[in-house]
Symmetry: C2
Subunit: 331 residues, 2 copies
Amino acid sequence: MPNAKYDVLGIGNAIVDVLASADDGFLNERGLEKGAMQLLDADAAERLYGEMGPGVEASGGSAANTIAGLASLGGATAFVGKVKRDQLGEIFKHDIQALGVHFETPMAEDGPSTARCLILVTPDAQRTMNTYLGACTTLSPDDVVADDVRNAAVTYLEGYLWDPPAAKDAFRKATTIAHEAGRKVALTLSDAFCVERYREEFQDLVENGVDILFANESEICSLYEVQRFDDALQHVRGKSTLAALTRSEKGSVVVSGDEVHVIDPDRVDRPVDTTGAGDQYAAGFLFGYTRGFDLARCGALGGMAAAEVISHYGARPETKLAELAKTKGLV
Amino acid sequence: MPNAKYDVLGIGNAIVDVLASADDGFLNERGLEKGAMQLLDADAAERLYGEMGPGVEASGGSAANTIAGLASLGGATAFVGKVKRDQLGEIFKHDIQALGVHFETPMAEDGPSTARCLILVTPDAQRTMNTYLGACTTLSPDDVVADDVRNAAVTYLEGYLWDPPAAKDAFRKATTIAHEAGRKVALTLSDAFCVERYREEFQDLVENGVDILFANESEICSLYEVQRFDDALQHVRGKSTLAALTRSEKGSVVVSGDEVHVIDPDRVDRPVDTTGAGDQYAAGFLFGYTRGFDLARCGALGGMAAAEVISHYGARPETKLAELAKTKGLV
């Protein structure tokens, strides 16, 4: 896009993931909904951590994962998110800066510690997320640097930002600045339970405020309170928003005005961990979008990035996506 | 072994690993010796971390990895090592306790932070380690609980303990208590450069004080200042110490008095990361040893555990080794 210093600026919860294996019994005994994200307070997080098996730590956060994917594709990116100045905060900052992402949100000097997400990966490769938001609850509109938003072709926001109250204001500030500068705003609905918590506000955002919507099947069905994907699709088709709807092994559907594209998924021989599939789909899609590719190619790039990330443990690409895209003839 | 509450008590540096990919150029530009471990002070560690790519964090430490492998095999284990009460310290403690390991070394309340090892994994699957010892330098003889040593069939020590000065005294205290209780003491030489730093002391330990010695080819050659493995072997054969000598893809050689066993390696289709191969060999070997298995079977268990760990990223087993051993008819 012309004059954009950044292809995408992401705003999201800055989280360090703790990934551990667990079996279905472990989830059932604790009433944990498989595949969903639930919020924990500090005590509950400590209790669950104490009961989990040994973990592996890695930087995460939904929008931050998308930004990492865009960086891996060769996109110019920035990220806004709040960590505390503690060991996990330093890890988050290191990892995102090491990818070449512009990340200068001031660290919180006191208050709750850096957020972590306790991710339980079951043998069926599904991930169940338990998030302690910690320092993310202190993200404020002041952390949104107006010039960075103006300089980004797309500002990408995660629905999870609706959970920490002040972050919602940061989200709104960014949306206003982006639109005033003639830029695009993208939103991911994040999680079906998140949609349940904020359905009306999200419906309003999709009508007025968001140019590009990312959602998976259960999220978009929850948004319009319908059972079947096709019913949700008909709701979306009437909107001015460009929507990229992901359907796991069924691929994705991209809708824009009268255009509808049904995109086949990339084949994955053995899914290991679905953490980050939606985040990486958004990365691939937005990489194509900011280059002006046609929507089918944007969707194919999304599917490629999602397939890479579910073929291994962890939510960020292990392969250089720019090279993968070249191999597949997508760039 | 009769009356032993623990099969193995490990004493070692309690470290959180930071694993990142790097190419040979990155090592060469910084004069980093591939495959070796170098010690860094806090400033140098921060500098190197700032230059590295994004990482993944996981509990490590040589002896602690061995103890984790023993726990995965179903052994009863304890560990002594020093972390600080900080986020990385809590991660180390969680991970080792979650394996069922008895770990009650008091956390340091002040002083340097929990140790970390910046591990650069090159495309040839080798790992180059850069260690900031931090809180490990405050391990002292007081941290060695006499009853725990008396209750362990084998006390297992890492040569790296020679680096933090007070840890050496803890090492000596443990050796004395173990032998007074009629227990065995095992030592791993850790690293050829570590052997260079403390060659005479290590030679003395092998003569007087250690019952079981673990070393890889370059370590044992360095200990006796010889070029060829067979020359080192002849040195070892004259000693009363049981020696298990690992040779990467050539397998291992186990020597005890007149007995010599040449053990074939387990086949690994695609080595990913050799971090922890020696640590896991020691785990498999000691599991067999504490059950009174013959030495060839101990060596085969070691080879099996080493093969598992080099087939994936990270220094601790991902597969339950007890089940793997059953599949292979080794238990």
